[in-house]
Assembly symmetry: C2
Homo-oligomer: 342 residues x 2
């Protein structure tokens, strides 16, 4: 039974269902335009922990716990957990989800990790390897600044092309069956396109939107080819955290390739903050950005049938502080999932 | 078609074949007991590059290129690449394999990453999502010391429980069909057990064998239960990089659970160096350790029918320098694969 499609895509023979999900965010996200939609907004950004890294771990722990609870499941009902974050050696994950004792497959795709974890999770169910899996990703503004840039105490200034790392974690319970009644699934995953590394040689880590846009364009074009689809086939084409600069680059790059996505395009990083009043410049970013927006906002639109079908495509910038300090470029990657209303 | 087995295992309905593979190592590994078996031994450990990180990237690039060439394949014949390394944000991978332009699914499981990449690669084929995939992992002594401990120039002393990170990369081409003639596969993957995070609270990053042994014991016990097997069913039970201290702990922990693996146990980290003459203390370690030993030594034994069936179980220590400096423990994880002669 082949579930391959075209050069880089996968089309499960039966849809994989997003049974339930949860979003946990920090104070700034709670004050943003989507604030009222999140399942939990922290009272302060340490979340009662002693380090920023532990705070990020607690986000993952809470998101997974809430997603399982909302789905009426216990950890032992789940076969695998696909998890990752932005920190070196994914420590937010290692110290966040260990208490659940679910077999772990760790993933890394920078801010595209939410898309990667959902892709692999859906494949594991569609391939008959699991009945239910959990996918979780996170980011935290302060742990990310420390990991990639400077300690917050330095008070570094940020150019207008910079994005603001979202403090948040989104967890998703995937299942092979749609559930019923109060346990009905939120949406279904019907296809995935796996991205490759795209490197235009850009080196500005304070303009990651521009660094990632070529990867988003590559995956999107491949998706249209593999699925023989057009922008108009989707109610929304949603990137993770390109921000305002990256959005413009993406739309331009796709125009050059004969696709006009200006009507359908939406970016989680642009939606999650009000750049005018929240001083977030180009938009939100981080593994958590697309994950919490999917859980709190996108799935809600699909549930309410405001949208029927979206392409959800988180984007990642594959840099580290070491690669940046060594003068390397910032390659990008993006993974896309077709998510449809039930 | 369920391919689930027990609580944490997967049994593909049809075996997945390791079509071919390649190993590239540094000078010290070339001088070790397995030296003559590796496909390529570098003349110097910078591999012609300007940074240690680039050197590690070149290992991955060479290993993937050689594995594809040996299998008679081009990059475009491969659906996905499952890849990872130990560096923060997996930069050895991001800058190593981008030229192949194969859709990438990045994985992280510390030194268990080779097992994780092969597990997910085999699942993607067995699930009907791909005909051929590549799995690659790497480590480099100098980039790892810089990432996790101290710059080499400090000349830090190392306790006898410490391991020596292997400079090397192993790449594997997986396929759903066994090939024929000169293109016959090397071995077949017939089952996988996915590990969970196990944390006994040990904090000594200079004794990672002891930190990882409980995870190896957990996965191994679960494997025996899920497959209803016993140690005697395997010619070898092979861990990745427990070293001499971790080996003793693992054998003791398994004894306590009613399994005697002292006859079958082998550790790639113990095999790859001669601790007496190479000053490597407890043994070799790193993502590359189990990968190059699998490619150069284990698959050769299976090809020559010296062994019929092994359990290959790389082990990972889920720490970062940040988690270590913040006083956290060193949790472990291990993923096991049943690999059999054709």
């Amino acid at each position: 039974m082949s579930q391959k499609l075209g050069k880089a895509s996968v089309k499960p023979e039966e849809p994989v269902y997003i049974l339930n999900s949860a979003s946990v965010v920090g104070t700034k996200e709670g004050q943003g335009p989507l604030g009222l939609l999140f399942d939990k907004v922290g009272e302060e950004d340490m979340f009662g922990c002693e380090t920023w890294e532990d705070a990020e771990s607690s986000l993952q722990k809470d998101a997974v716990g809430m997603a399982l609870e909302k789905a009426g499941l216990k950890p032992e009902d789940v076969s695998f957990i696909f998890a990752g974050d932005l920190l070196g050696q994914s420590i937010a994950t290692s110290f966040g989800i260990s208490t659940y004792q679910i077999p772990l497959l760790g993933v890394y795709g920078a801010c595209s990790t939410c898309g990667e974890s959902l892709t692999l999770g859906a494949m594991s169910i569609s391939g008959g390897f699991a009945d239910k899996v959990v996918c979780v990703t996170s980011s935290h503004f302060a742990s990310a600044e420390k990991e990639f840039r400077f300690p917050l105490e330095y008070g570094s200034q940020r150019p207008l092309s910079a994005t603001w790392t979202v403090t948040g974690s989104g967890a998703f319970v995937l299942s092979g069956s749609p559930g019923t009644g109060a346990k009905k699934a939120r949406a279904r995953i019907t296809g995935m396109t796996i991205g490759k590394i795209v490197d235009y040689g850009l080196k500005d880590s304070m303009n990651m939107g521009a660094c990632m846009a070529p990867a988003a364009a590559s995956t999107l074009e491949q998706h249209f080819i593999d699925f023989a689809s057009q922008p108009g086939d989707y109610d929304k084409i949603i990137t993770g955290d390109l921000g305002k600069v990256g959005q413009k680059v993406l739309i331009d790059l796709l125009n050059d390739r004969g696709y006009d996505i200006s009507e359908q395009h939406m970016d989680c990083g642009i939606e999650i903050f009000d750049a005018q009043t929240q001083d977030t410049h180009a938009g939100g970013s981080g593994c958590g950005c697309s994950a919490v927006t999917l859980s709190a906002y996108i799935l809600k639109q699909l549930e309410e049938n405001n949208w029927k079908k979206v392409l959800f495509m988180p984007t990642g910038a594959l840099l580290s502080k070491t690669s940046f300090n060594e003068g390397k470029s910032v390659p990008g990657i993006a993974h896309g999932l077709v998510i449809e209303a039930l």
